[in-house]
Point group: C2
Chain length 418, copies 2
């Protein structure tokens, strides 16, 4: 393998997580260790920044700022949901890469982003432009194939479980057998996040909240829901429900009104919680139904992120650079769990084509027969992912986050219309 001398470009894509910036910090930190890497650029707003040549000089950021990225939520480089469609778009990407001598491209994102990285990589190969492309997994949805789990998932579960425990203390104080608490969480096509709420139960306390977890993997019926809630209310003072936004009925229709689709054709959801709230009011008169919609807060909750998750996100960024330096390309970094009882995690690599647009479903055999709780296989899987707390710097009572200088790289090409 010959040494490839050139510049790095790193980008972020899709919905942010509370640890995706840790992956960028991993890339920048590792890249600066290698003499063959000359400049380290970031693209603003993913592929949009490439098309429009909006690149920033990450090496000129202060070390403090890069360090602060490790605990800063959101996507500090900006992100996008723009999908490269026309051949012209792909040609422009290569043109920009050539102009800025980008030889290493790292893209942190979910399924669609890995697909984009794969297409860019293949095009470069076709055109004989030497480029090493490594994807970095990112998604709170935890639905990427080939990796044991995804950076971002452990932190959203930790935040959700903390919220379930805390809200349940409140519910328990208020409930007189007439209180239903619904917490709606994200999860478009898989119930990984909602399932994660089961970690909120103390060991050997199966009746701890959340009492009912509704997953997209289990067809929803109103009859069973009403019976479930009645059963819990008779047993407990209140009924704690966690529901994934992607809940579907037996025909696969979303249990929520007004489904729309995004640029990738995925359904944009929301409203499953309100829907269940309405069912409670309709079928259980006199019962109060309270709703918490965590929305963006769940994927941004850096103050409650998992140290294991945060460390692995950083590690994945580092591993991407190391792999590319070693001559790898057209791969995504994967997280590989050791096979001992004591949890360990190393990184591996998988072809981008295997990840692109694939979906890892929550195994149905990890759901208990009651359809509303998870068994020990899930708990064994998820428990290690929420371990440890990240110490944030506080100033004036609030956490402080990174603010990048974002020094622009000179534009070398003409403008481009997207």
């Amino acid at each position: 393998m010959t040494e490839l001398v050139g510049n790095v470009l790193v980008g972020q894509s899709g919905g942010p997580t509370s640890v995706i910036n840790a992956s960028v910090a991993g890339v920048v930190t590792e890249a600066l260790n290698h003499a063959c890497i000359e400049e380290v650029y970031g693209t603003l707003n993913g592929v949009l920044g490439i098309l429009q040549e909006d690149l920033i000089d990450l090496a000129s950021e202060s070390q403090q700022a890069i360090r602060a990225l490790r605990h800063t939520p959101g996507a500090a480089l900006g992100t996008c949901r723009y999908k490269l469609k026309k051949q012209q778009d792909f040609d422009r990407v290569l043109e920009v890469f050539k102009a800025h001598n980008i030889r290493y491209f790292f893209y942190a994102g979910g399924n669609d982003s890995q697909d984009t990285a794969d297409k860019i990589s293949k095009l470069a190969q076709q055109q004989g432009y030497e480029l090493r492309v490594i994807g970095i997994p990112k998604t709170i949805d935890n639905d990427l194939p080939t990796t044991d789990h995804c950076p971002g998932y452990g932190s959203v579960v930790k935040y959700l479980c903390t919220t379930v425990r805390e809200v349940s203390c409140d519910n328990q104080a208020m409930g007189q057998g007439d209180l239903v608490q619904i917490i709606e969480v994200m999860g478009r096509s898989a119930g990984w996040i909602a399932a994660g709420a089961s970690l909120a139960k103390r060991r050997d306390h199966p009746n701890d909240p959340p009492h009912l977890i509704y997953l997209p993997e289990v067809a929803f019926t109103t009859e069973k829901f009403v019976a479930d809630v009645k059963r819990v209310l008779a047993r407990e003072k209140f009924c704690s429900i966690v529901v994934g936004e992607g809940l579907v009925d037996a025909d696969g229709n979303y249990i929520s009104a007004g489904a729309k689709t995004d640029a990738f054709g995925h359904a944009q959801l929301g409203g499953a919680g309100s829907y269940l709230q309405g069912l409670v009011e309709q079928h259980l008169p006199g019962t109060k139904a309270r709703l918490v919609t965590l929305g963006m807060a769940q994927r941004a909750a850096a103050h409650c992120s998992s140290k294991a998750d945060n460390d692995e996100a950083f590690l994945a960024g580092q591993a991407a650079v190391k792999a590319a330096i070693d001559g790898e390309t057209d791969k995504m970094v994967t997280l590989v769990r050791g096979d001992t009882d004591h949890y360990t995690c190393e990184t591996g690599l998988a072809p981008l084509a295997e990840i692109a647009n694939g979906v890892k479903k929550l195994p149905k055999e990890w759901v208990n027969e009651d359809g509303v709780s998870m068994n020990f296989q899930f708990l064994r899987y998820a428990q290690p992912l929420i371990q440890g707390e990240v110490a944030l710097p506080y100033e004036n009572g609030l956490p402080t986050f990174a603010h990048l200088d974002k020094v622009r790289a000179d534009k070398l090409l003409g403008p481009y219309e997207v």
Copy 2:
């Protein structure tokens, strides 16, 4: 003053906060310092527990459990929204007090709870039963008169501001001038909580999120709202909005559908956030409006509580006992701010009658002329209340909370129908 020998009863009432248990811990800890106090009872679910003689022996709880109460959200004794109505109810309370030789009654709650405490105190005086009644302020709403601020408020503001900062990192990454983020918070009749979100702005960064704060104190109009949002979207990549659930129009009508009333005749709200979301979609086509509804999570977020608030809640519990031992009765503990630039807080006392059903409004002169941001007077008031972090014990990646044994005191009377 003669020493009054007898038993203590402590209760919690109304909506819990993340620090109301700290006040109970303060009562229990202080009570056990005084030889004239024999037993320390807790009433389960406030006045309901008194009526039904559901009392627990708090002195028999482990020291660990009482210590853990200091960081446990919810109301560990249970709470209620039951209002003592008939004379028979009040007579029963006195009967239970006499049966259990309750000579010290401490009630942590909001306006209605202080009213209840006042009535019980007056009845005991009428009947010549020596009883010392001290209220302990509690409410995230921060709307009790005579006290500088209320335990519970600082913590909800700290959690809200943390959430605003984090969600804004996410919004900034996603926004392309077409994203409106709405965070709905509690606040039935006063905008204290929503106003608190202004602390999320960094000093000297007036354009930091939240960009728009909608308060019940400022009459809402759709025209101004749409203009506000357009102005922010033109200036920033996204528009961050915090809205109090109690938003009203110029005629005082709530800006939300389906208002109901609770047992005290207060409107039960919710939906102001959805309403604004609808307005954005209707008036700004192509703009995405995302909603976070913090609901119960905001008043239960012990993992993000303010140390200043937590300490003051404990202090208020201790102060209640000290005052009663000193012969005070029919008073509520107040928090008194020192008049130096360096924030200090001591406790005082105010007659219960002055608090009962009074409401402390957010001063209108603390709202900027734009109607959607707060001025330095508010910031100076609220800034000290969110200082400091509370270290929670973690086990298996999650905070652990107190679980009381709740050893029941023997019932000495017959049953009572509520």
